[in-house]
Amino acid sequence: MTSLADLPAVERLPYDIARIRRDFPILKREVSSGARLVYLDNAATSQRPVQVLAEITRFYRDHNANIHRGVHTLSVEATELYEQARAKVARFIGAADPREIIFTHNTTESINLVAHGWARKHLQPGDEVVISEIEHHSNIVPWQMLRDERGITLKYIPMLPDGTLDLDAARSIITDRTRLVSITAMSNALGTIVPLDVIVARARAVGALVLVDGAQSVPHMPVDVQTLGSLGVDFLAFSGHKMLAPFGIGILWGRLPVLESMDPFMGGGDMILTVSMERSTWADVPAKFEAGTPNVGDAIALGAAVDYLSALGMDAVRRHEREITDYALRRLADVPGVTIFGVPDAERRGGVISFELDGVHPHDIGQVLDTKGVAIRTGHHCAQPVMLALNVPATARASFYIYNTTDEVDALASGLEEVGRFFGVRK
């Protein structure tokens, strides 16, 4: 296992948007209509820089072997690279020990791992899990399944009309019976940044653990698990593919004693200490939770992605996105017929803007924008309770990342003006 002290330091680079864009060759391509790509669907998945692509190639070309079970050179190298990636991720989120980093496939698997390995073991009928109305389906459905299986109680912190959470209600919804609060740090549908302090303080006061869905926060702002929500949290789940890394690699971070108290999620190779025909004993954390051959190449590429983001600095990433979002909020508000959902200021929202255009279905908006090269997402964004609360079937959503520019926001805005003219929006 690579220790944090063994990691090479990452050199900080200035935030040079032209240089950053050169690292993403896909941003130069054209879409089917011949227009230059304007990629504004980053909340769904980010693009990958050449550094990450090169790391994938380098691993398979020079070091490829299965890990943990070989004495030969390649296997030793692959194991070292895999464990080094684990340490890089640990440092990136302020984890005390690389053993607290579990490689999964995505946020969804990370949350399910907690539901199976921790909640199934420790929760009794009548115990409460508290989530919120603005969660992604991946932080709703596992708890509904557990409720139906185990008779736990599932409670929701409600959303207010402006897309923020009702924190007064949260104080009474989290009770002495609450064992886990599982909450997003940022809504993928509305961009709301959740003030975790209030929720974590209340959870701590009643002795509940806190799981944070960091799928939309870890890629976009500084996150330190020791100070998250001021008091620190117990679990953090996030996905590599939203932060410059390949598909198919995700993270669950958990506090070591909590992870040690958990049952494995899947059984098989690599997660055992001994196996006899009668019984098996479990390997130590994190191997206990990484049954079978892991996604070695993509874990290593996630290490490269984390290096890339660390060189930019997550405070600089957040600053850039706040500027773009602030500009976009003002620019879109000027487009006739546009209504923006959620909080009106970029201070309390991440780089996600959900909106509607009077009288035009989101699907049509997305289609017309595509002919301008502008890629946005339309639909329910896997957050149907939010759509229900807004009383809309779907929204159009633009979401930003490190490489987006104000020119691209202008392309979105003028594209929307054209959509409005095309479908005859009045106002």
Partner: protein
């Protein structure tokens, strides 16, 4: 949007016309059979009410919400079906599904406006929108009601 041929393939003027002024939309009829269709992925919803007299569609009405393609297709479908018998209506459904596969407009009577939707075949993501009203109609005629959905899960 003259600069983009792709756009014109999809949003033909006659389609926008049906979208802005849908025919047989929300008309009060006394239905003998009905069905609800949904495309939860994009939020398209359509309800089709049919009044059959001796196997002939005497009156038809649709309601619901959705994108221009789903709403225009529903409007066109009702115009085609009205006054035709069940067999002809189902034949229309079959011809329509075929058109979504091939992108070729079929040579059948009454398909003039509908043929404008042939271009949708080039947009796989929109085929479900265009087909919804026809699927819902077939459901209504099949066993006098029920509901259909075209969802297949998503991000």
């Amino acid at each position: 949007m003259a600069e983009s041929g792709l756009m014109e393939d999809l949003y033909r003027e006659i389609i926008l016309d049906h979208y802005r002024q849908p025919r047989n939309h929300g008309t009060a009829i006394e239905p003998t059979c009905s069905a609800d269709g949904a495309n939860p992925l994009c939020g398209d919803q359509v309800r089709v009410d049919v009044a059959l007299v001796d196997g002939v569609v005497e009156a038809i009405s649709f309601s619901g919400q959705g994108c221009s393609i789903s709403q225009a297709s529903a409007s066109m479908m009702t115009e085609y079906v009205k006054g035709r018998d069940t067999a002809a209506a189902l034949q229309g459904d079959e011809a329509f599904q075929q058109m979504m596969l091939t992108g070729e407009a079929p040579d059948i009577d009454g398909f003039d406006d509908i043929a404008a939707l042939a271009g949708v075949a080039k947009f796989p993501a929109r085929v479900k929108c265009a087909s919804l009203a026809w699927k819902t109609l077939a459901q209504a005629l099949a066993d006098g009601g029920g509901s259909v959905t075209t969802d297949d899960g998503s991000r």
